[in-house]
C-alpha cells in the first residue's frame, strides 16, 4: 500500500534517539522532508546521516527544546519557510525515571510534566496555525499504556500521557472541521538495540533506568506481554506512518496501543 508520504514535510520531535530515530528513518524511506527536532544536535546529526542514505527528500536537524515556546516556534517557522508547510508533526519526545511516586523529588515530576505534556502542547499549538490555514495536517503523538491503564512506578508519567491522549481527543473534535487529524500511538516498553541509537540526554542514558536493560528484567517484562517480547523501536513505525498518511483520512481522536497486547481496551 502506497502511503503517499513522498515529499511531505514531517517534524519528529526527539527524532534522533530510539523510537524517534526509527520514526525519522521510516519517513525518510518514504521520501519525506524530515525535520529532526532535537535538543541533542549531535545525536540528531547521527540519525540525519542515516536518514539521508535512506532516501529522504531532505533532512534537517533543528536544535529544539520542546519545553520552550520560543524554541518550538522558531523550529516550526523555519520548517514552514524551508518546505512551505508542516504536513505531519510527530510528538515523540518523552521522559521518565523508573521510581516510586513517593520517592521522587518534585524536580523529577516537573521534568516529566515539562517534557511529556508541555512539550506536546507547545509543538501542537505551534503547527496548528499553518495547518488550519492550509486546511489539513496530521499529528501523531506518542502516548503510553501507562496513560490508559496506569503503571507501577510511573505515576506522573502516566498522568502526562493520559493528558496527551485527552488533549488529542479534544483537539480532534476542535479542528476536525479544518481537515486536521490527531491520533496517539502507545508503544510498549521499547529498548534501543544499541548504544548508538540514543544520545546522552535520552532517558535511556539515565542511570536509574539502566535497570530495565538487564536480561532478567527484560525477560520479566516480556512475560507480561501476550506477544512475549518487549518492543523494538521499529514496532511502532507502521502505525505512525499509517496514521500520518491520507490512508487514515477518517481516523481521528484514536489511541492505538502497539504494545504486544499489553493493553487491550
Amino acid at each position: 500500500m502506497d502511503l503517499n508520504l513522498k515529499g511531505r514535510s514531517v517534524i519528529v520531535t526527539g527524532g534522533g534517539s530510539n523510537i524517534g530515530r526509527a520514526i525519522s528513518l521510516a519517513f525518510a524511506r518514504e521520501g519525506a522532508h524530515v525535520t529532526i527536532a532535537e535538543i541533542d544536535a549531535g545525536q540528531g546529526e547521527k540519525t540525519a546521516g542515516e536518514a539521508r542514505t535512506a532516501g529522504a527528500a531532505s533532512v534537517v536537524v533543528a536544535p529544539t527544546d520542546v519545553t520552550k515556546w520560543d524554541s518550538v516556534l522558531a523550529t516550526v517557522r523555519d520548517v514552514e519557510a524551508r518546505t512551505g508547510r508542516v504536513d505531519v508533526l510527530v510528538n515523540n519526545v518523552g521522559w521518565t525515571l523508573d521510581r516510586l511516586f513517593v520517592e521522587k523529588e518534585r524536580a523529577e515530576w516537573e521534568k516529566e510534566v515539562q517534557l511529556n505534556l508541555w512539550g506536546m502542547i507547545n509543538c501542537t499549538r505551534a503547527v496548528l496555525d499553518g495547518m488550519i490555514a492550509r486546511k489539513g495536517g496530521a499529528i501523531v503523538s506518542m502516548g503510553s499504556d501507562a496513560g490508559r491503564m496506569g503503571e507501577f512506578r510511573e505515576a506522573v508519567y502516566g498522568a502526562c500521557k493520559a493528558g496527551v491522549i485527552a488533549l488529542t481527543k479534544s483537539l480532534a473534535r476542535e479542528v476536525g472541521r479544518h481537515g486536521i487529524r490527531l491520533n496517539v500511538v502507545c508503544p510498549g516498553m521499547t529498548m534501543p538495540s544499541s548504544e548508538e541509537e540514543f544520545g546522552d540526554l535520552s532517558m535511556w542514558a539515565a542511570e536509574v533506568n539502566r535497570a530495565w536493560g538487564t536480561p532478567e528484567m527484560q525477560a520479566r517484562i516480556a512475560k507480561a506481554y501476550p506477544l512475549r517480547r518487549i518492543g523494538k523501536p521499529e514496532d511502532v513505525t507502521g502505525a505512525v506512518l499509517f496514521l500520518a498518511s491520507d490512508a487514515a483520512g477518517f481516523i481521528t481522536g484514536q489511541t492505538l496501543s502497539v504494545s504486544g497486547g499489553y493493553t487491550m481496551m
Binding site: 476536525g176 487529524r181 506477544l227 507502521g238 502505525a239 481522536g253 504494545s259 487491550m264
Partner: protein, 254 residues
C-alpha cells in the same frame, strides 16, 4: 513505499465481500498483493466482486457462503485454500443490522442478528485458526462498529453484537498471541454505504448526522479498506487486541 504494508504472497478470506466495506476491503487486500477469497451469500454479487479484482490484475476466488451455517464455512475455507493457498488473513466482515423498537424485536430476529454478526465470527476464526497456529502466524480482523460503544435507540441487538465483537477480539488476541496471530477490531462510524446513504438522502437528516462528526463528512469504504491493509500487514505485527474506530472523531472513546 514501506514494504511492511505489502501483502505479497499472502492469502485472505473476506466474509460479506459482495458489497460495501467488505468488497472494498477485498479489493484493497488484493491490490496490496494478497490472493483474496471473496465469500458472501449472493453468488452473483460476489462473483462480480472477484471478477473486479481479477480485472485489475489481482488473484481472487468467489465463494457462495452463508456465515450462519457452520458446514458452509468449512467447505468455503477448504475451497479457498485449495484455490489460493493457506489462509493468512481472515476478515470477519459479514453483518446485518436491525432498526426496530426493542419491544417489537422477536426472538427469531434477535437470534438471526446474533448468529450473523457474532457467532459467525467465532466460527470462521475457529475454522482458520488451526492452520495459522500450525504456521505460527496469522491476522484476524473483526469488523465492529462505532455502535459498539454508543447507546442507540432501536439498535439494541445490533449494538450488543458489535460491543461483543470487542470482547471476542480481545480474548482471541490474548489466547492466540503466543502463536503469532494478531486479532484486531476495525470499527467504522458512518460510512458511504447503502444504509447510511439511504438514511442521509434527506438534507435535514444529513445535516444532523454530519453535525456530530468532527470531520464533517462520512467515511468512504476505501478508508476502511486502508485500515484493513494495515491490520493485515507486517506493519501491525506488534499490535493486538485493539479496536480502532474509523469515525471521523465521532466517538473518541478512551
Amino acid at each position: 513505499m514501506e514494504d511492511a504494508f505489502s501483502l505479497d504472497g499472502r492469502t485472505a478470506f473476506v466474509t460479506g465481500a459482495s458489497r460495501g466495506i467488505g468488497r472494498a476491503i477485498a479489493r484493497a487486500l488484493a491490490h496490496a498483493g494478497a490472493g483474496v477469497a471473496c465469500a458472501a451469500r449472493d453468488l452473483e454479487q460476489v462473483t462480480a466482486a472477484a471478477a473486479e479484482i481479477e480485472a485489475a490484475g489481482g488473484r481472487a476466488r468467489a465463494l457462495q457462503m452463508d456465515v450462519t451455517r457452520g458446514e458452509q464455512i468449512e467447505r468455503a475455507v477448504k475451497e479457498a485454500e485449495s484455490a489460493l493457498g493457506p489462509i493468512d488473513i481472515l476478515v470477519n466482515n459479514a453483518g446485518i443490522t436491525l432498526d426496530k423498537p426493542s419491544l417489537e424485536v422477536t426472538d427469531e430476529e434477535w437470534d438471526t442478528v446474533l448468529a450473523t454478526n457474532l457467532t459467525s465470527m467465532f466460527r470462521c476464526a475457529r475454522v482458520v485458526a488451526p492452520g495459522m497456529i500450525a504456521r505460527g502466524r496469522g491476522k484476524i480482523i473483526n469488523v465492529g462498529s462505532m455502535y459498539g460503544v454508543l447507546g442507540v435507540p432501536r439498535y439494541a441487538v445490533y449494538c450488543a453484537t458489535k460491543a461483543a465483537v470487542g470482547g471476542l477480539t480481545r480474548s482471541l488476541a490474548a489466547e492466540w498471541a503466543r502463536h503469532g496471530i494478531q486479532v484486531n477490531c476495525l470499527a467504522p462510524g458512518y460510512m458511504n454505504t447503502d444504509i447510511p446513504r439511504a438514511a442521509m438522502a434527506e438534507a435535514k437528516t444529513r445535516e444532523r448526522f454530519l453535525s456530530k462528526i468532527p470531520a464533517r463528512r462520512i467515511g468512504e469504504p476505501e478508508e476502511a479498506a486502508a485500515l484493513a491493509v494495515y491490520m493485515a500487514s507486517a506493519a501491525s505485527d506488534f499490535m493486538t487486541g485493539q479496536t480502532v474506530y474509523l469515525d471521523g472523531g465521532q466517538t473518541t472513546a478512551w
